[in-house]
Amino acid sequence: MHKHFPVNCIVPPHMLEDIATNGTAAQKVLAINTLKASAQMVGKRRALSDFTGAALRVAVGGKERIIYDAKNGSSLPGTQVRKEGDPPSTDVAVNEAYDGSGATYDLFKEFYQRNSIDNNGMRLDSTVHYQKGYDNAFWDGEQMVYGDGDENLPINERLFNRFTIAIDVIGHELTHGVTQYEAKLTYSQQPGALNESMSDVFGSLVKQYTLGQTADQADWIIGAGLLTSNVNGVGIRSMKAPGTAYDDPVLGKDPQPAHMKDYVNTVSDNGGVHINSGIPNHAFYVAALEIGGNAWLKAGQIWYVTLRDKLTSSSKFQDCANLTYQTAGELFGTGSLEQQAVKNGWAAVGLGVEGGNGEPTEPGDGCFTSLLRAIGAAPAK
């Protein structure tokens, strides 16, 4: 029987959006289905992601996870195989996705008082076994998606293991969701590299939290265990020493810079978002190590509040430096050890901090050039 809902017919889109954001659970689901259906008709599926998650995945109050199996196809989300509270599956990837998204939820909830990706109990959906030989994981604007690496190749040719194997990869993808709901950092150039860095920072913190490590005990490797033994490398990125994670005949050498003087200008990879993220990654590492103890407690708190309240879609590295410094002062006191550590973190990558939200400087454009410009001894921008 075909049910007829008036909301499908006469409610204008802006009102549906309001319902999708503010309505009851049932209203949200109804409104969002209508919006999604009409958006698909005009090819705007992704444009709705700011509120679809909250509406479609409204949780009953706490952690709610669903794991799907794409069964090596590319249709999302796939077949549901485990939901919140279900016993472990016999499929290790399913359990890793379940446990990893749970640990990420717990870290954000317990230490940053954040209720899921949207801070409104959004359900955490993950799909495993995406495609065949898919050596990647991504956030599609609504859910996490994980491939199995290159499981379809002979063992001696495989480079990547399944992407759920590294819990920081899971934390990384979920944090893309948090960024989407907060700073909305544009996925290109410096804002994109900051977006990537935030995901690496909280991905690494999820791992450290799970292992109960202090900053000096952590390996600060992103994606440890992801590369097979055929690859000469310890992981995908190193926050401790960007540019040193791998050096391999097939994959090449880790291209990440650790300092502004080595900033990579490229059109590839959305302007090098996975390359230049090494710079803010290293700043976080230096600050966290100097603060000491569990990095998610203080350094993580400073970065989280900055992401939630201060960064905007167009923020650059210099903005992030200034704003994390400002936040550290607000949280721990002006001139505190924590604030000094943040300053030293950014100094280690070639960025001085300014008191307020100063004008961002271009890559490689240091304090000295800015000073010359201020007194008219260097050309204006």
Partner: protein
């Protein structure tokens, strides 16, 4: 029209590692070149739009495929979430070819 050259590049992804291939189909094993031509024909590759990009999908791959004949060169840029279902097989095949080329270098 005979395909003379194919260029493929995969960038982005969680690892941000570039995979690329630049080859003449005639240099591929017969079976692989037949599979490639079948997939291109099936997709009606020259009629595909030049841009089919993902929006708001951090860490997804970006693929660029250029197919050159004597008279024409057509490039399609696409991403994981926006590539048509039928295109996935082509992307996987080009990926394998790229990987083999990189291994030989």
């Amino acid at each position: 029209m005979k395909v003379e050259r194919i260029q493929f590049e995969r960038t982005g992804g969680f690892a941000g590692i570039r995979f690329a291939a630049d080859f003449k189909p005639e240099d591929l094993p017969d079976e692989q070149s037949k599979e490639l031509f079948d997939l291109l024909d099936d997709l009606d590759f020259n009629e595909l739009p030049e841009q089919m990009m993902d929006e708001n999908t951090p860490d997804s791959f970006t693929y660029s495929i250029t197919v050159k004949t004597k008279r024409k060169s057509h490039t399609v840029v696409t991403g994981d979430a926006s590539a048509p279902e039928k295109m996935q097989e082509l992307l996987q095949l080009l990926n394998r070819i790229a990987r083999n080329q990189m291994r030989k270098q």
